[in-house]
Amino acid sequence: MSLPKFELVQPKTLTEAISFLKEKGSETQLMAGGTDLLVRMKQRLERPSYLLDLKNIPGLDSIAENEAGGLTIGALASLNSVAHFPVIRQRFPALADATHHVAASQLRNRATIGGNVCLESRCWYYNQAYTWRLSRPFCFKMGGDCCHVVKRGEECYSLFCADTPPVLVALGARVKVNSSDGEQLLPLKEIYTGDGKEITTLSRAQVISEIEIPRPPAKSGMAYVRFAVRSALDFPMVGAAAYLKLGEDDLCEEAKIVFTGVVSGPAEAGQSAASMVGHELSLATIADAAGEVVKEIKLFANIGCTVGYRRKLMPTVAAQALSLAWERARGEPTKG
């Protein structure tokens, strides 16, 4: 498969990149690792006139603990560099797990966390070569006017499949968004639209440069568990990020459950998580809370499994993530 023709732009500073985007953003795609973008271009899902390569801008790939004890991760940090960073493995294990299980080791040397955060949604009918797609009318995501997943559907039902966003949302991460209007720090949760056609609220003239994760407080634990047919290369069929904080009395003080792979954006099961707050935790209470998640999230069938199967997977994966987070909150030695 060949790539369509384009001009490669390789700015040396973020300012250069942003001023290029201000002028030509509408005909430009940003390239970090390029491991999803180039495939979509080979399938003719994207045909930008320009590709703006962010990799020559120094400093965008650094990972460091900040003074508040949280993390500042450059958007261009490779998934492998995040997965292997010692502070992340010890104090942010859910992020290490989420990055470590993406695709394969070779791909993780190029793919970036910024790219994963902005990863395009996926669909059986969308992620196909051009000639395959010609056999059907173009769907909403391709710029057409129908959906093949939900017949007579009026919006796009593609699936959000990225592994890191549920963890980052559960941890309350923020992203630094740069444009010609300056820079702003936004809660990551707020950039997701939940709409399969346009995954984020970001415009073509904006660049995410950094991801900030606050310091996890004492007696808190986090986990990410994903289920896929193959243990590598596949996107998650269901991925669940869990965050728990215990109070002084060991009762649950805070809880978060966020899914990927189920709808068109990261899906937070707020009520199920809230049902644990103020209670003593046990495998039984965790299983009960996990069992409620399917009531809050309206599912549709796409990529690899039926609604019924996903309904069974979600509580199972959520319960596994919650019990691992609970173990870590109690300071137990981590397993798995």
């Binding site: 790539l3 390029g34 180039l38 080979k42 080791s105 070779q106 791909l107 040397n109």
Partner: protein, 169 residues
Amino acid sequence: MKRLLELKVNGESYQTWVADHKTLLDVIRDTLALTGTKKSCDQGECGSCTVILNGKPVLSCLVLAREAEGKEILTIEGLAQAGQVHPLQKAFVDLGAIQCGYCTPGMIMTAKALLDRDPRPNEHEIKEVLAGNLCRCGCYPKIVEAIKAAAQSGEETFSLGKTFAGGPL
């Protein structure tokens, strides 16, 4: 529009006119005629295009040729030194870890990057790192065995005579 590009592959410098939209895999195979690196899925899902870029294994079908400028590229052709095959290549041949041979260069490059980083990986670590390399013939058990054997052999190099005459098959 083609622009001049300089690539350092296997220690040699090549200069060629390349359009921006050509991948590293295309240039290695079609322009430099180094066809050891294979194009199989061409979309980052099989690992047969694996090369080592600045010491890290990457999928060359998803790297633009221009992005590789100024970096050290190692392909399967660059493993043999002074007429001696690399212990990994010898182990693959000796242990029958090759059937059709299409996944083999990718497997060996991924394994080489692993052994350069961790000379004594255990079976689980080998399998985890190789998860991105698919083999349709099903050589996986022999491939893992060959990598373990190459790791155990350490820095020892072998004479070609010993490899092809009377080695275990």
